[in-house]
Amino acid sequence: DAGITQSPRYKITETGRQVTLMCHQTWSHSYMFWYRQDLGHGLRLIYYSAAADITDKGEVPDGYVVSRSKTENFPLTLESATRSQTSVYFCASLDLVNTEAFFGQGTRLTVV
């Protein structure tokens, strides 16, 4: 299926654990983004990538690591999860031709 998919949709993890959220897009869009959505803050940019092997920090990068070895995948890793990282995480890819960003369904992460 064409599109952008995130996995898992729901995840509960313990404080201090490492957890990786996956994002896969089928369009070969060069730009990809990770956001977290929290009440009162809207969508805050964590990291973004302009192409494979090119990543850069967004507004709230602390505690997160990303990689982009292939254009279609953009995993987000929480190296040592904290309760403040409980959130809904959205991945997006950008169609530069039509100047539209497409979002995945989101991953609801709970850190206990």
Binding site: G42, L43, L45, D56
Partner: protein, 111 residues
């Protein structure tokens, strides 16, 4: 430091009337602006966009206005329908680097 601001967290409007959502930005390098709509438990979906070389873009019931001197944009929905009840996000980008979003405005359309 939030560079895209939506100062109204909520908006209630009657069905058939106009909804006006506002967005302010601080970065003069932003050259592309987008509006997204989000339903609960779903990812945001694209509504309409505008580049900084324009001051208005229209798509059906949705019109976006850009006032560069005031660093302000607005989204007009006419007429508002019950299915328009959602959270609306304004987003901005400078030459397709970071795509930054505002905090969102919850719109409720009442019968």
């Amino acid at each position: 430091d939030q560079q895209v601001k939506q100062n109204s967290p909520s908006l209630s409007v009657q069905e058939g009337r106009i909804s006006i959502l506002n967005c302010d930005y601080t970065n003069s390098m932003f050259d592309y602006f987008l509006w997204y709509k989000k339903y609960p438990a779903e990812g945001p979906t694209f509504l309409i966009s505008i580049s900084s070389i324009k001051d208005k873009n229209e798509d059906g019931r949705f019109t976006v206005f850009l006032n560069k001197s005031a660093k302000h944009l607005s989204l007009h929905i006419v007429p508002s329908q019950p299915g328009d009840s959602a959270v609306y996000f304004c987003a901005a980008s400078a030459s397709w680097g970071k795509l930054q979003f505002g905090a969102g405005t919850q719109v409720v359309v009442t019968p």
